[in-house]
């Protein structure tokens, strides 16, 4: 079983934080196919959060094909995610490094680069469309 935590200052909607924490746990191998997620009530008790938020997160995980609800039992993980580590994405990282060199050459400094990344990332945090 995993536990969730909420960061009120992150600017990320609470339900998305839960979705990401499940994805993260899958990537880290803490969760695998067949594992049960904490019940809504358990999350509510632990994190003190609106139960609707937890239900919404679980629905989103179902929508993404990562989990399925068994009525009256709970929500279960339906697939394991490959252990795609950062090292497997070396070419992507190299492109990012190249982009950062360009950004610096264009006069952007650390905070500017971070702001641009964040604002671009926030345009579509879930990679839709």
């Amino acid at each position: 079983m995993i536990e969730f935590h909420l960061d009120a200052r992150s600017g990320v909607a609470p339900y998305l934080q839960i979705v990401w924490q499940v994805r993260q746990a899958l990537l880290l191998g803490l969760l695998a196919e067949g594992d049960q997620l904490p019940t809504v009530k358990e999350v509510v008790t632990k994190v003190v959060i609106n139960p609707n938020t937890v239900s919404k997160a679980y629905r989103e995980l179902e929508h993404q094909g990562l989990a399925a609800a068994k009525p009256g039992v709970g929500t279960f993980i339906t697939q394991s995610l490959g252990q795609a580590s950062l090292a497997d994405h070396a070419p992507l990282q190299e492109e990012l490094r190249a982009w950062m060199r360009k950004a610096r050459a264009a006069g952007l400094t650390g905070p500017g680069i971070e702001a641009m990344f964040q604002s671009t990332f926030r345009e579509n945090p879930e990679g839709e469309k």
């Binding site: 009530k41 509510v44 003190v48 609106n50 139960p51 609707n52 702001a115």
Partner: protein, 297 residues
């Protein structure tokens, strides 16, 4: 499904003083609603009207599809915990449960006793001897055991320490999870509401300034920081909520139904506290707000 609360041009005056003015709201079911505003904004008045303890001076209101306090059935559907979670100091914890059982047709005695057990309250203890946090929990237990469809709480956590506050909200959220109760709770502390409310109503100077699903509201509002300019020079579709200028810089809080277009500004999201403060500030300085351009709603 029926709206939790539907108000049209609701108003309440005490003598010459307006406590609530032109309040129009439609809150969909299944929400935990945070009613926020400074002291004296009219929060208590609105909540008392919603549970039938006060009659409005003007306008119309329905709660769960009926007139508040219309009949015993309607009274049983709505639970109300008044400001500072009052209890009877000379009655014991057990007396409170007996009272609750005698006064409420749908009383869930099992739930009430289980909750008192879980809280570790001594049934023989007089309520007057309980700590503030325990008294609040007792009041909540009585309200929840009545099994209402809607629970209305007026500033329930304002006087509690942070730990008691968290425990109270935990108990409240567990009840929502177990019984699918809708909740309206008022507070002047936004931080209390951040985790638990998925619908927000901001009330300032007797008027509703903002209402909507928290997540939508947060997604729609941004802070734009740019070189000093007139707000008329901003792109169409941005409703300027608040504008602030220094000799070289302008800061706008804007509302937009669509993505903020890229431009020579930095756009940041607001957190809930900033959002609420923005609307409080605007209400306090009405001359600064200008009619919305482009964007509606």
């Amino acid at each position: 499904m029926t709206a939790i609360l539907q108000a049209r041009s609701l108003g309440k005056t005490y003598g010459r003083r307006d406590a609530l003015t032109e309040c129009t709201l439609e809150i969909p079911p299944g929400h935990v609603v945070g009613l926020v505003g400074p002291n004296g904004a009219g929060k208590t008045t609105l909540l008392k009207i919603a549970c039938g303890m006060l009659a409005p001076t003007t306008g119309h209101i329905e709660v769960l599809g009926n007139q508040p306090g219309a009949d015993p059935a309607q009274l049983a559907r709505v639970g109300y915990v008044a400001q500072d979670t009052p209890t009877y100091s000379n009655l014991t914890v057990a007396d409170h449960l007996t009272l609750g059982a005698k006064l409420n047709p749908g009383w869930d005695a099992l739930l009430a006793h289980a909750r008192i057990d879980q809280l570790g309250l001594d049934p023989k203890q007089k309520a007057g001897k309980l700590s503030g946090g325990q008294r609040a929990q007792l009041a909540l237990t009585v309200a929840v055991a009545k099994r209402p469809e809607l629970l209305i709480l007026d500033e329930p956590v304002a006087s509690l320490d942070p730990l008691a506050r968290r425990d109270f909200l935990r108990h409240l959220m567990e009840s929502v999870a177990e019984n699918s109760t809708s909740v309206i709770l008022s507070s002047h502390l936004v931080s209390d509401l951040e985790r638990v409310c998925d619908y927000l109503v901001v009330l300032v100077s007797s008027r509703v300034q903002l209402a909507g699903e928290t997540e939508d509201l947060l997604a729609q509002h941004h802070r734009l920081v740019c070189a000093r300019r007139d707000q008329a020079d901003l792109p169409d579709g941005l409703e300027v909520i608040l504008a602030d200028h220094t000799d070289r810089q302008s800061t706008f809080i804007v509302r937009s139904q669509t993505q903020i277009p890229a431009g020579d500004w930095v756009a940041d999201q607001l957190d809930l506290e900033d959002l609420v403060l923005t609307y409080m500030e605007r209400a306090a300085a009405p001359t600064q707000s200008q009619p919305p351009r482009g964007a509606s709603r």
